[in-house]
Amino acid sequence: MFRPIATMAAGALALAFAMAGPALAQSVAVITPYLAQPGTQFYVDGFTAEAEAKGWDVNVVDTAGDVAAVISRIEDAVTQSVDAIVINVDPAQVEAGLQSAADAGIPVVGMDAGSHPLLATNVTSNGYAMAAETAVYVANRIGGEGRVVMFVFDAFPPVQIRGVIADAVFANHPDIEVIDRITPDVQDGGIADSRARMEALLAANPEAGSIDAVWAAWDQPALGALQAIEDAGRADEGIVIVGMDANPQARDAIAAGGNFEASMAQDFVGIGARAADAVERLVNGEELRQSVIYVPTKLITAANVDEQ
């Protein structure tokens, strides 16, 4: 009962485009288990807005957390001979589905999905560049000298690459000393344990000015460190804290104008829109050389935290 309407709409659009040029209405399946998560919703909104502007027929499928069902739905989309498939899930876990798409010659594009040989490309944010920006922010803010605490998580590849870059930036400043490189326990989300670890470090470095900055690879440890510093009554020592991802809690802290000074915002809507561009190039027969396409990110400070 839905099909005739969709077909009619697609047909009308195809007609409109046929008059304008050679483009045809493409049918694209967007498949994710994570639609209920805010980030994913932004990707999908960005994608659908761009796709609608291009006159495509988009089917968004949410498998409500079920990764095996993503494989099933990819197979169904392949059966339906869609023109392209977009996924937002770890490609290694849905390889069986990617293989069936590859066998049918249907391109699959990842939206912040991770790289995989069977993906035509993956559109995401550049973790290296994000880490460089916050690390350089810290280095400049403390005048290239001081004692820095790092919060890292090397077990998770997307976060590990952030730590590597911050290491390099700090190592390149001879007067910056990294006094601790902490991997917090993230079972509870990361704030509580980071706070405890920071409290211990503050106790070990009681003199004012003995810690100049906290660089965190994501926002939760930065928030934990902020709580520890404020509760220890050392908020006025000028300890600079930076996080990453600019989640709402971090934005509030940055807006408050305290120690938490900066974070990086990913352009989720932009990732969705660029994924649509990648799909367009693929269905036009172009071969994408970039196995990863990066969408610019933005440094968030008190100056621009209220934007958007």
Partner: protein
């Protein structure tokens, strides 16, 4: 009167064929094709195994809420052992042992201690889920930790070239589901053991007075359901080439729904494993067909839930008129 009997008996089956007919009409080129039907068989294989073995306890009027967590735990146990360098057979054997032991524990709580199945298995659901988090450290185990022999299993099958379907193969996951179906059918329908389970479901006291060892049978039935959940968990882990502590959680409600839909097909409202198969097929075909028709995911859920309720309601109404 005869028409009513016909509908009471075959209403669900008629509905099932109506659904197939509808999709065949709406999707003339892509629905009733060998490739798509083989896809569907593979897509439903994990749910099918859980539902078939769930039928065993439901025959006695019991049910097991812990199958989803058990499936997750089995996958995680195997994956953790793989990550530590154990061979595939060892990981699989350990996971199946966990399923059997977990099922026995359910059976012990229900039949020996005498806790209501709903409460007992709700408790073990939570315990098993917690254990799965502890064993996996809350992480998804994937990539090089999962041997290719294990993940490759779900991507291969028996070639169908000899029967004229070149390029297609019957997936191993489908084969496993068929084997489990046969075993459960044989056990329930062809053995004294199965008859006794139905006797317990009919009237537990009467069965006991007739000399049926009710406690022992209930315990063993729960063990089989736990084992089935573990098999499904391994199938799931193989299909996604990874394991995380929550991935099986969606299986439980769908399995119970499939058995309930199946129960509408028997005159006495008893669970029959072949009827459960129809229930599973209805759920799987709806998912496949509605996705192909590009029906919104959330609307799809409403439709699937509505059809399950409608099937049971129809059957219940037609029984009242008798």
């Amino acid at each position: 009167m005869a028409v009513i009997t016909l509908f009471r008996r075959y209403g669900t089956l008629i509905g099932f064929f109506a659904i197939i007919g509808f999709f065949a009409w709406q999707l003339p080129d892509t629905f009733v094709t060998p490739r798509n039907l083989i896809n569907v068989s593979q897509q439903i294989s994990m749910l099918a195994v859980v539902a078939f073995t769930m039928t065993i306890v439901m025959v006695m009027g019991d049910f097991d809420l812990s199958v989803g967590s058990m499936a997750s735990l089995a996958g995680v146990v195997a994956a953790v052992l793989f990550a530590q360098g154990f061979p595939v057979w060892a990981g699989v054997a350990a996971a199946l042992a966990v399923g059997l032991v977990g099922g026995l524990a359910n059976g012990f709580l229900v039949s020996i201690i005498g806790i209501l199945p709903f409460v007992a298995t709700l408790g073990t659901l939570t315990i098993l889920s917690g254990v799965a988090f502890v064993v996996s450290d809350g992480r998804t185990i994937f990539g090089r930790d999962i041997p290719s022999a294990f993940s490759g299993f779900a991507r291969s099958g028996i070639s169908l070239e000899p029967v004229g379907l070149a390029g297609l193969s019957l997936p191993w996951l489908t084969v496993i589901a068929l084997i489990v179906l046969f075993i459960v059918w044989f056990v329930l329908e062809q053995t004294i053991y199965g008859r006794r389970l139905y006797a317990i479901g009919g009237n537990r006291e009467a069965a006991k007075l007739a000399g049926v060892k009710v406690k022992r049978l209930r315990m063993s039935a729960f063990a089989l359901t736990g084992l089935g959940a573990a098999i499904a968990g391994l199938m799931y882990a193989s299909r996604v080439a990874s394991a995380n502590p929550t991935q099986g959680s969606g299986l439980m409600l769908d399995a119970i729904a499939a058995v309930f839909v199946g129960m509408t097909m028997s005159e006495e409202g008893e669970p029959r494993v072949l009827a459960t198969l129809v229930g599973v097929l209805i759920l799987g075909i709806l998912d496949n067909g509605l996705t192909q028709m590009a029906v919104d995911s959330y609307v799809r859920e409403i439709l699937v839930g509505g059809i399950v309720v409608a099937a049971v309601a129809f059957s219940s109404l037609s029984k009242q008129t008798r």
